[in-house]
């Protein structure tokens, strides 16, 4: 069993927190409506998580192929 290249759920969680922070700040400044935006776009977090899982798998396979 090879080591993972990175933790997909950790990266997803971090990116989502950063995005939430940015969106929360913009909402507090009156630039956007936070809740309707989140209700529409939250599945992007699933897409990001899934894509990162695939990327991590590819990186792990390529590093195993090199060693």
């Amino acid at each position: 069993m090879s080591r993972p290249a990175f933790s997909p759920e950790g990266v997803t969680f971090g990116v989502c927190l950063v995005a939430l922070g940015v969106l929360g700040t913009l909402a507090n400044l009156g630039r956007i409506e936070l809740l309707p935006l989140l209700r529409t776009w939250w599945p992007l977090s699933l897409v990001l998580w899934g894509v990162l899982e695939l990327v991590e798998l590819l990186l792990r396979r390529s590093s195993r192929g090199r060693s």
Partner: protein, 183 residues
Amino acid sequence: MSSQPFDSQSAPASPGAPALPPPAAAPYVRLPKSPGLAAFLSLFPGLGQVYNGRIARAFVFFFAWVGSIYLTASGHEFPFAFVIPFVYLFNIIDAWKGASAANARFLGGRSEPEEQPEIESPVWGGSLALFGVLILLNNLGWLDLDRLARWWPILLIAVGAYFVYASLQARKAGGSADEPPRL
């Protein structure tokens, strides 16, 4: 250990024979995590993962659980009513397995937490991304998931077909056909 109590079974068979030293007791090792406690804490989704020190995973489970309840309550029974029990049970099993893995690492002499990835197939990542894209398209009004609701048993057919395919591949590769395929 000198504090071993006298055991009649370890006493010499005859009064004239020399007394054998008592067998050395195995050192008591306190394991760092309790899988039972982790599973119990997971009755509140995410808490078992916090106990295991997997904070990101804890948030993922918590928000998946709360989000699917919210979406079910707001009129999206399909597919989120199915997701609620899945997330809940998966969260308990994940906490149990996480604590067991931490104990195994401890007994193996490794103090650094190390991921032991069990997912070796692109099906998990691909399914997550596809699920996200479908819900996003539904939210944007480009797809009506409610119209697809009657077709959900096709998912069962696809998963079943994948299991059959993976079992046949395992048999071809010389492995055990009884071993469940990895998703």
